[in-house]
C-alpha cells in the first residue's frame, strides 16, 4: 500500500463526501424514507404489538428503532454504490482506471465514502434510543454505531460488486430491491425472530442481515451478543471481499 495510493484513496473518499453534501435531495430521500417508515409502522402497529419476553423495548416504536437504523444505512449505502454507475456514464471512472492510482483506491474510496455517510446519517437517529427508554448506555451506543458501520460496509460492498457488473441504474435498483427489501423484512427488524413461524424462522436464521440487526437490538438493550457480533463482522468482511474481488481484478 503506497503513500501515493493512500493519498489517492483519501482524496477520492473526500470527493464522495463532497458529492453527498452537494445533493440535498439525496440527503432528504435517504433520511426521510426511514423516518417516515418508522412513524407509519410505529403508529400503525402500536396497539397490536406485544414485545417478546425479555426484550428491552416496551413499545413498537422502540422495537422498530434498530430496524429503522438498519434500513437507513442500507438505503444510503446502496445509493453510494449506485454512484459507481454514474461515474462510469460520466467518464470519471474511466479517467480513474487509466491513471496509475491502484485499483483498490478506486473501489476502497467508494466503499469508505458510502459507509461513512450511511453510518453518520444513521447516527443522527441514534439519540432516539434514549428518548424511547432503551437502556443502551454509552457502550451500547458505540456498539450500535459499530454494528451500523458493519451493515454499511457489507451492503456497500455488495452494491459496488453489483454496480460494477450492471450498466443501468434502473437494472441496479431492480436487483437491489429484489434482494435488499426481503433481507430487511426478514431480519427481525419489523417483527421479532422469536415470534416467526417455523419455515420463516429458518429463512430469517440464514439471512445475513438478521445478525447485524440482532447485534443492534442487543447493543441498544445494553447487552453483548457474541454470536450476532461474529456474524456481523463476517457480513462486513464479506462485503469488502466481494468488492475487492469484483473490482480489484480486471474485467
Amino acid at each position: 500500500m503506497s503513500a501515493s495510493g493512500i493519498h489517492a484513496f483519501v482524496r477520492l473518499t473526500a470527493r464522495e463526501l463532497v458529492r453527498f453534501v452537494r445533493q440535498p435531495s439525496r440527503i432528504v430521500a435517504t433520511l426521510g424514507t426511514p423516518v417516515l417508515l418508522w412513524l407509519l409502522l410505529g403508529s400503525g402497529f402500536a396497539g397490536s404489538f406485544a414485545p417478546p419476553s425479555g426484550h428491552a423495548a416496551t413499545t413498537y416504536a422502540a422495537f422498530l428503532l434498530p430496524g429503522v437504523l438498519t434500513v437507513s444505512v442500507m438505503f444510503t449505502a446502496i445509493l453510494g454504490a449506485i454512484s459507481l454507475i454514474d461515474d462510469r456514464h460520466a467518464g470519471f471512472l474511466q479517467s480513474v482506471l487509466v491513471s496509475p492510482a491502484p485499483r483498490w483506491a478506486a473501489w476502497g474510496s467508494k466503499l469508505a465514502g458510502a459507509s461513512a455517510i450511511a453510518t453518520a446519517q444513521a447516527a443522527l437517529l441514534l439519540p432516539a434510543a434514549a428518548i424511547l427508554g432503551l437502556p443502551a448506555g454509552t457502550l451500547g451506543h458505540l456498539g450500535a454505531l459499530a454494528a451500523l458501520a458493519c451493515v454499511a460496509v457489507g451492503v456497500a460492498g455488495l452494491g459496488l460488486a453489483l454496480a460494477w457488473r450492471v450498466d443501468s441504474v434502473q437494472g441496479f435498483h431492480g436487483v437491489m430491491n429484489l434482494l435488499l427489501m426481503p433481507m430487511w423484512l426478514l431480519s427481525g427488524s419489523v417483527f421479532p425472530l422469536e415470534g416467526a413461524s417455523g419455515w420463516l424462522r429458518a429463512v430469517m436464521f440464514v439471512n445475513p442481515m438478521t445478525w447485524p440487526t440482532q447485534a443492534l437490538h442487543a447493543s441498544l438493550a445494553g447487552v453483548f451478543d457474541p454470536i450476532a457480533w461474529g456474524a456481523t463482522i463476517l457480513f462486513a468482511a464479506a462485503g469488502v471481499a466481494l468488492a475487492a474481488s469484483t473490482i480489484g481484478s480486471r474485467r
Partner: protein, 333 residues
Amino acid sequence: MPHAADASESDTIAIRARNLRRTYPGSRGRTPRVALDDLSLTVPIGEWVALLGPNGSGKSTLIRLISTADRATDGTLEALGSTIGRGTTNARALRAYKSGLGVVFQSPGLDRLLTIRENLLAQASLFGLSGRASTERIASAARRFELVDRLDDRVGSLSGGLARRADLARALLHHPRLLLLDEPTAGLDYDARTRFLDTIAALRREAADAGTPLTVLMSTHLMDEAERADRVVMMHEGRIVADGAPSALRGAIGGSSLRSAGSAAAPILERCLLNVSIAPDGGIIGRSGDREALAAAASELARAGLPFEVSPPTLGDAYLAATGRPLSEGSTP
C-alpha cells in the same frame, strides 16, 4: 513480465501496434463483432496523428487499447517503451506507463458536482502529486488554459467549450508524454473546436521547445480537425485504409473535384470519364486528374444549365477514394 521494448526503438517510437485485433462477443447468438482487424501502426515520438474515420471504424477502440481501458484479443502493443495489454503482468511497469499517459475521452472525465479545482486536485492525487506540487501544477494549468477565474466554479455550470478545456487541463496536469484524445471536440461549436486544436498545437510547440516532445493521437471524423495533424491515419471497419500527411493523402488522389447539386449531372460526368460518387448531402462529385476531362465536364454542365463548382480534393475525397464510402457514413458493424 512487461517487455521493455528495444532501447533504441523506445527512444524514437511512442506507439507500435502489431497485428492488433479486438473482437467483442456477439450477444444472443450473433456473430462476434470485429472492432479492430489485424491493425499495425507505428507512431514516432513527438508526432501528432489523427485517426480519421466514421463511427464504428475502430478509432475509439484503438485509443481504449492504448489507454489500457481495454485489452486486445490478439496482437501486440508497445507504447512509451512498455508492452501493454496482453503480455503485461507487472503492475509496477503498468503504473509507470500510465504515469506518462494523458487521456481525454469522449465524455469529459470530470465530476460535474465538483469545482474545477477539486477535480484537478483529485486528478493530481491519482498521479501521486500532492501538497505544493499539486497546487503549483493546478495554478499553472489554470493560467495555461485560461481557467483562473473559473477554478472554483462547479463543472456542471460550465459551457461545453470551457468544460473541454478543463478536461484537457486535467489530462495534462501530470505532464504526460503521450496524449490520447478520443473525439475531444464532440459537441463543441466551430470556434470552440478551433480554439481547442490551437491549444493542442501550442502545447506541442512548447513541449518540443522544452525538449520533452509530446506525442498526440487523436480520433476524429471531421476533416478540418484531421488537417491540423502531422499525419492522418484513415480507418474503415477496423482497418487502416490510408496513412500519410494530409497533403500527401489529398495529393495522392490527384486532380480536382467537380461538384454539382443536380442528379442529372451524374451521366454527364460519367460521359466525360470522371470518377463519379455521391456526396453525403446528395450532391454529385466527379473526380479526375485529367484537366481536359474536367474542363470538358465543366462545359457540358454549363451547357446543360447545371450549377457546379470546382475544388481541390479534400481528405473526405481521399477517404471516399480509399473506401468507396463517404466519411460521414458509419462502418457496417
